[in-house]
Amino acid sequence: MSSAAEKHQNTIDEAIARVVSRAENSRGLKAADLRGRVVKSLEKYVTGDDKNVSGAEIKAFIDELRADDLCLIVACENGDEKAWDDLVRNFDATVKSAARKISGNNEDAEDLASSIWAELYGLKHDKDGKLRTKLSYYSGRGSLGGWLRAVVSQLAIDEFRKQSKFVQIEENREFENLANESSEKSENNSVVSHSDNPEQLFSEKQTQKDVGEALKKAIDELESEDKLILKLYYFDDLKLKDIGAVLGFHEATASRKLVRVQTEIRKSVEKILKNQHGWNEPEIKRYLSETAEKLGINLEKMFALLLFAALVQEIFKTGVL
């Protein structure tokens, strides 16, 4: 136990007692059963980095733990069969649903879900003879469902990394090369025009390289939060509403922040292209407007196709015709 935890022992005990009393189904657990888990969580999130943490902070942290979920997991860890039944019955759908959405097919989803349950139950024993289970990582800070989804996602990505040959690629690959190659191989060909003229082809590649480098630098210069917003929005296709919820602000605020980030990136890209690559103002404007125009057309086509597909699907599904 850390010195901070020892210092606030009474506060911690009282808070744990409240956790047990808050739980609708404490599964016969007592404060002592939860103490080790709660202290571990405290060290991880509160006292680990800050030795001078106050009692109020510790109290607030413990009071915000999810009592029922924590009691269920601790009971499972302690070998409570009833708790296991409840866990599987209540959360098997969550695990399978997450696995299905993340996997390419049902077979993979079934495998993934089975792996998750195996890891949750524990396959190996520690030196004390106890099963080493993933359940021991659950702190009760977030919801049990959310934690299970994160576990599914993490395991899926780690499995993918193990299987994927792409893990072996060099990590310092240049950002701009990716953009260039992807434009040749992906469906995005129409965005970047290609010419048979070698001179023009070289010029186009050089242009893309310059822009890629400038964009990479511009993104690197952003603040962490701005960078995360930008990546979640553009690279992971998350909605502004969800991004805002994660970072603790309203969708409108997320939207304003994104607009500000775009402005910063434009300024940086223009500055880098001018100062480091010798572009002039008209060249920058022309390239950006052409890119926007071509991508805009693609997006319109894609939207029209999606709308049409949705209509056809709906017609067949409802049997109107």
Partner: protein, 394 residues
């Protein structure tokens, strides 16, 4: 669209993002779109576990720790990918709770269907289509009805415009004594009369029947009643002196070949309207009339040379035609109506444009009670002149 959104930078970033994920996709259905660049960031040695990621995704981490994790997720694509997957799964789970799928599948399905797709779902689509069909059918019927009415009106106007200028055998061979053509013929005869008083016609005040020159009075005598003469006066009022000159020329040219038009015009009136003719002729004449008489001594209508036939002959011929062609007549509220092609025409109607009014409509209710009384006494479509304005009530 977000206000102030930079479309160009947005396009550039989307293009770049596509390039980033393009290589990572070995399984197109998979969500494991980890960019091959920076799968593991060298700067971030210790990665957050599932508990930290889920707590961050639910904004459940202590405020103090947020910047640390934000910085890591901003740099580490692998952890960011796990985070974004978790966020997406959480978001989808909120929309359709996993446990509810098994327990209440129907509700879950309904909730998962977005509003714009529900619009097309049965039975909404069926109701909407049915309503559209009814609306469209109603619209077609209404348009058809309107077209039928318009075509009737246009026939009337075509006749009234073309016949005064018609000459020759065609006019003679098919004399029409409908109220429309009767009025036209009257105009023709009036024009022929005014021919003699041409020099003064521009200065004559036509709005007052008491100051009407004798030639006009004579023409008005051909009307079936006083209202008819008023209508004719209105018609004359519209004629500019220049038009009268042109029409005079036309008439002069057509006279040799179109005697029957004038014949019939005079003839039809002669029988019925000798009284009104007298009344108008007996009206006191003012100075204007005297001047007109001096300037152009007007011969009586009866004595006008019309291709060798005088007005009396024309009147008698017209009366004969009128007798043979006249349809059912009725008198309502002191007005005479003649039925032609299923439409009751006011004898005062002389082909002017009509205001179409449907029975029972708001416009109909706003009409004068006298006019409505006429409309209620005659079934079907009626064309009536009320306060110098023509109405078609159907």
């Amino acid at each position: 669209m977000i206000e102030g959104f930079d479309k160009e930078i947005d396009a550039l970033l989307r293009q770049t993002a596509k390039g980033e994920t393009a290589f990572a996709e070995t399984n197109p259905d998979s969500r494991f779109k980890i960019p091959k660049s920076k799968i593991q960031n060298p700067k971030s040695k210790i990665h957050p576990d599932a508990d930290e990621i889920s707590a961050f995704a639910e904004n459940a981490l202590p405020e103090k720790l947020k910047p640390k994790y934000t910085a890591h997720f901003a740099e580490c694509d692998r952890c960011r990918k796990i985070l974004s997957n978790t966020i997406t799964l959480n978001s989808e789970a909120e929309t359709v709770p996993a446990f509810s799928v098994a327990a209440t599948p129907k509700i879950a399905v309904i909730k998962s269907i977005p509003w714009y797709r529900r619009l097309f779902a049965f039975p909404n689509a069926a109701y909407a289509m049915g309503a559209l069909v009814v609306l469209f059918g109603g619209f077609l019927a209404f348009t058809l009805l309107q077209n039928v009415n318009n075509s009737q009106s246009s026939e009337v106007s075509v006749i009234s415009e073309s016949q005064p200028r018609q000459g020759g055998p065609s006019a003679e061979s098919e004399p029409d004594f409908s109220p429309n053509t009767m009025s036209n013929m009257s105009v023709t005869s009036t024009d022929s009369v005014s021919n003699s008083a041409m020099s003064n016609s521009g200065s004559v005040n036509m709005s007052n029947s008491s100051t009407m020159p004798s030639v006009v009075s004579n023409a008005a005598a051909q009307r079936t009643n006083a209202n008819l003469s008023m209508a004719n006066t209105n018609l004359l009022k519209k004629e500019s002196p220049l038009n009268e000159v042109e029409r005079e020329k036309d008439l002069t040219q057509t006279k040799p070949s179109a005697p029957t038009a004038a014949d019939s015009a005079a003839g039809s009136v002669a029988e019925n309207q000798s009284v009104s003719s007298k009344q108008i002729n007996e009206l006191p004449r003012n100075d204007d009339k005297a001047k007109i008489a001096q300037a152009a001594p007007s011969p009586s209508v009866e004595t006008l040379p019309l291709n060798g036939r005088n007005m009396s002959e024309l009147k008698s011929a017209r009366a004969k035609k009128s007798d043979s062609n006249a349809g059912e007549s009725r008198s309502v509220s002191g007005r005479n109506f003649t039925r032609k092609d299923g439409v009751w025409y006011d004898s005062a109607y002389n082909g002017q444009s009509t205001t179409n009014i449907s029975r029972g409509s708001n416009e109909y209710q706003k009409l004068d009670s006298g006019l409505r009384s006429i409309a209620e006494n005659l079934s079907g479509t009626i064309v009536v002149v009320w306060k110098s304005k023509a109405y078609r009530i159907q």
